[in-house]
Symmetry: D2
Subunit: 431 residues, 4 copies
């Protein structure tokens, strides 16, 4: 495959500069100053096996494919609060205060543009740093204007947009989302099924900019945007960063299934105290997240094919707003399994994690891989990036894959394919 060179500056545009966004930005600053390492990022730290097992050839991924270097990134974005990135990171209370002080001048220089926001899609948020226009189409045009200005002022060669904002209320795919025309009509008529996140998506994809969606909002997971992405040559990837509990679930469920162990129940609860937790404390917003989180087991376990093992699985997911924890999320899972002759056993998993620490490297990888895809001429849904997503979009006609290890093989074989290397099957009959 022919891939254009990654030259000049890459602009990363972030709608929602809260905990995740600022952890990404401050992290990149710290990494570029060699104060810290980009742990958790495949594009920066990951290796990939090439050739036969006996060749022992496992280069860094960034040495196999031409990824944009992190030192040549500039950040911009929008937020409903006017805090600069230093202030926002300070309030998010994810990173060490001393580190933030060291990076203060750089971080203070990044100030959010006024956001497209509508409180009816996120009742617990009270932002004031907000654009006022008559129609959603005018808001989209204002965003496109922001983007063009940003690109010019920062002298960017290319841009990528990644949604790091809140989870909006639950919206199902409807007629307005069906075609480019219906969507554009809806934008002009302020259709209620077009939430703010979708306006950002439209703006980015309309301009041919790669777009990733870190929340479970519909956003780019509608036919209109998928079609538009193909027309404008925009690669897209959504939806919802696969971090804490769902990450563990899509690691563990394939492991239980590969051993044909039955599962009668899976109870997942979370406690977290950041702004994300506050927004999800509203049932309408939780619904969006719940749907995203519940789907993964069904697809991995295929209860219709494996009835004795999974048809009675009772799956429950709870998220509890619990302020003492801030961003230090904790996920507790109880899994009721059964084995030989149906004897029951139990697994408990307690994951003491940090939400934004897990999400930031995914955001970086998505951005850099989408930029690679763009330069490789790939557009539309990038299924090989499912690896990073809780509720991945798949091409029409196939079921999305949630098993993280199948996602990994798909990602790795795609990288090998882009680089012209042999795919790997692990057959190994020749040793």
């Amino acid at each position: 495959m022919k891939v254009e060179k990654a030259k000049g500056k890459l602009g990363i545009l972030i709608p929602g500069m809260g905990a995740v966004g600022t952890t990404l930005i401050a992290g990149i600053c710290a990494i570029n100053r060699e104060m810290a390492l980009p742990i958790g990022s495949l594009t920066q730290m990951g290796r990939i096996r090439l050739g036969k097992r006996t060749e022992d050839n496992k280069p860094l991924i960034k040495d196999l494919v031409d990824l944009h270097p992190v030192k040549d990134i500039v950040f911009g974005g929008w937020d409903v609060f006017e805090d600069n990135v230093f202030e926002s990171a300070f309030h998010a209370d994810v990173l060490d205060k001393k580190l933030l002080e060291d990076l203060r001048p750089e971080l203070e220089a990044i100030r959010p543009m006024k956001a497209v926001f509508d409180k009816s899609y996120a009742k617990r948020l009270n932002g004031t740093h907000v654009k006022e226009r008559n129609t959603k189409m005018e808001l989209a045009e204002a965003l496109m204007q922001d983007i063009e200005t940003f690109k010019e002022q920062n002298n960017c060669d290319r841009l990528v947009m990644i949604w790091c904002g809140s989870t909006e209320i639950y919206i199902e795919e409807g007629p307005v989302h069906e075609t480019i025309e219906s969507l554009e009509d809806g934008l002009r008529n302020n259709h209620k099924d077009i939430p703010p996140s979708m306006i950002y998506t439209y703006a980015a994809v309309k301009l041919g900019i790669p777009y990733a969606n870190g929340a479970p909002n519909l956003s780019c997971d509608i036919p209109a945007i998928i079609e538009l992405a193909k027309q404008t040559g925009s690669p897209i990837a959504g939806k919802d960063f696969k971090t804490g509990q769902t990450l563990m679930k899509t690691i563990l469920a394939p492991g239980l299934k590969c051993r044909a162990l039955g599962i009668s129940g899976w109870f997942s609860t979370n406690i977290l105290g950041n702004r994300d937790g506050e927004v999800l404390d509203d049932p309408d917003n939780f619904k969006t997240k719940e749907v995203s989180k519940l789907g993964v087991l069904e697809e991995i376990l295929e209860p219709s094919l494996n009835q004795e093992l999974y048809k009675d699985l009772y799956h429950k997911v709870r998220i509890n707003y619990y302020p003492p924890r801030g961003d230090n999320k904790e996920g507790w899972d109880n899994i009721d399994i059964f084995g030989w002759l149906n004897y029951p056993m139990q697994i408990k998993i307690d994951f003491l994690c940090k939400d934004s620490i897990l999400a930031a490297p995914l955001a970086l990888d998505l951005v850099l891989f989408l930029d690679l895809a763009k330069r490789a001429g790939m557009s539309g849904i990038q299924e090989w990036l499912s690896f990073y997503l809780k509720s991945p979009q798949a091409p029409q006609g196939v079921t999305p894959i949630n098993d993280i290890f199948k996602q990994q093989i798909k990602l790795e074989n795609t990288l090998r394919y882009i680089a012209g290397e042999d795919l790997i099957t692990h057959l190994g009959q020749d040793y």
Copy 2:
């Protein structure tokens, strides 16, 4: 590949008819009477995807390849206690007493032959149902005589042997294990580095019988036996059933690694109260198990290639004999991980499992797949069966694979290969 048909009766010979062996036997009886299901067994319950994702073709494994049917199995074995299978299962206290009563006549009919045993290799065991001979070679010959008699009396078409006995004291590979000649000399001279388990292995492999090793004893993992297996056309698979904690570890570690998350420590402790726990309470026997359990992380994580992530990993494994639990083992793991900018997080896993319930279906699968391999003309190390083993044997020159998902791909692609189906790469660029 050409595979002989699975006809007649298959004899399963089990050295060590304790908790695992009797759970396997009683389970097969219950399953054949349709009183229970073979949950946890891929050969009985598992499916495999064939062709493209859009074809949606996922037959049962046993419909893809010709596996010996469980209704045509006969069991035999050896033990240091003379209890019949009903009595032994009753004392093991794994299965429901009512179920055992229902199967009583069948189980009572199976009586162990006198074992080859030497207390110095398992100090906590006090068996009396033991063969007396002058040399280890004479013991091997006595076993071979037992095998021939069993085959004839039970009118078996083919046999497989699977070690379900105790963990012996730690022995390192030495000169006596190097060649067939040195091993046979050792057997004649009662060399101390030839423990009882190795005598069984020699007897089976010498007769061309497929052999699986469910314990961490050296057994078939020595050059002499590997060479002999090739000569006699015996497929072999070792070592140590991958059940509770190590199963979880080889599920989770690939998941953390695929996301480039760092690990600073992994502490694993177990409590169990069965005979296995009692034997492992002796430090010499624990050493054997510890080596088997410790190895997996190193291979999966490759700290030499991923120094920032894994070079300081402190890995500790403990096994505690704790009688209140009997066979209801509990494994507790604490994993100290770190992410973006080296921020620390923690994962705890509590696995309330049943040792023999997890092991029995592995034993069944190993036996049936080894029999398939034999009929397919495959001999020596069957690396595709690593999937079932804690410390798998690999062909000379390559490192064993412990990542359960790579093991699964290897197993599945081997089955596809045997059946003449396309291998699967998950690239999917054609959708």
Copy 3:
């Protein structure tokens, strides 16, 4: 104190013969046949220290005070389903099926009387074995008739009633509950703030029968009933059996407080799958339970007196209906504490318990101690039985005590007082 002798038969009347009630009844049958032990019951197994530490005198409680013997108990009750006790215990799936079969004739002989029930107080219940009358007062009279008939037919010397039925919807104390007159008017006028449980309470207390309340319903915790209890000489004890999670909480919280450790958050979640779980899945019924469960920390920790330690404590309780578990409840608690210089620490508790197994011995103790109180001439609120209750009633003007160890001292010193023994202060300056 003068205590009448415990002679003849004691009748235990149980409104709600579900999991708890049948586990109590079947348990007493099994214990009387010497098939099992009354573990968890102080009246049957507990000891009490008397005199000085050096005297080493710790008799059984039942040897200190004259408790009614369990062999002379007869059971009766009401339920909304007409299942006999064997059938109900079988469906509750708490006790071993073989044990129930052994007790079958005895259990089948106990059939519930028609219940007083109104679906609007427990929407998830669909009972049909229900009394029909025009007014709540008529229902109360029908219950009193049932009671008299039962006493006569079973030749009982004395009776005790204990509510083992469901949690009803949340009702606050209101004017109708203020005086005996207002309550009796309410009964005649079908006042909506008089739920079925209160009708049982009225019937029992009106007849001078000791009454205990195992659910968080208001029941006997209203001025009218307290007054009536004094008039009729009925000892009463409520409310809500202190079993699983709250038991642990009132054990642990005093332990943290006695060390002056701070607490910033306490998150408690439960999974259970029995009928209780199903009823509590309705928010109106959960509210009643939640209020009962939330109160204990406030009283134990006294945040107003210990502001630096507890004023910011965030306490959250969740109950999740999770059918795979049945009666095998699991409570998971996360406690965020802080120590010296405010450094944070965490405690997690996972309690794999059995709801009815924990509740049954409490029900037995409450019944036998209430009968003792009645014979000792004690009436009204029995605060010394707070030990068994999640949301105990206290005399007017004092705050209820939830610290289980203070409750224990109160219970033990009351028993010493009844028996004329010295109270114990643990000063021990004389050793």
Copy 4:
């Protein structure tokens, strides 16, 4: 009781200025500067109820009895390393680095005196800042000289010594410990059963200085020292700070016992990575700690009196050196309990604690209460301070009490007794 006034300066002398000692010292500095709170310390934060429940009178303990104020404390001590307190605290890595920097001048000014040390009692320690003398008696005399010098130079009114050093190897009480004479002979003859810690104890008690022992070493728990303490009027308190896991155990075990719940097994494991963990990695030193930790259940549960409940309890304690954690100890407990009709249940406790954060306030309380006792004319074993100790010393002829709630009552009633207040029995028949 008559208590002398707490005037002038109180000198706290600490053998072993490692993690606990420096956390205490730095903490007191921070508290005196109002930078932090003495959470976990009863003498500073705790309240005590006086009079009847209706009086609602709960003053601070320090307002009830005359405790020495923390602003008038001076610190001194000995260590085998010559690091000053700033350096030692920095390496211990317990407290925030920024806090230590803020306190640097004060902490640097405190330099340890040369220690009495003998590597054969703590093989994993390699100290060099050590006194050299010919006999143990000469070492004791050197310590007494140090003490006198310190008192004079710092102008102290009174002194208290508290052992915060390592756990030494296991030594059983023997003839040398029987009388003052035998002990003094042993000191002169370098008897091997007199470890360094006992030399400090002798020096302090000989001078009439109150002495507390924070480790499980024999120290003041021998007849010779108890006798000497009475002669010289020294109050003593030992042994072993009751912090993490044992604290939880003596909270929970009384809770289970008070409900007559049976216990079949209690498995306790710890992971920690500080110097304490390193020392305990040696089996001889672990033995000392194990004996201290194992004893508590036996005394609380009284299996000989409660055979059906506790006679088969299998109690196992493990400590694992696990460097990734440093001072952030984690204790995991599994408790197998059984209830009504012997049905089994399980409790798991995971305590993520900080060793020195839990120990420092105990050290402070012990020091201040011992000083109070000295001024009140109390000498010898102070059983009311058992509350703070894992393996408390009791007067001859009585069993030590480990139940933390009985210990608390004893402590509180002792304080009421000293202050001339009524003792509390919780009977409450008068409300």
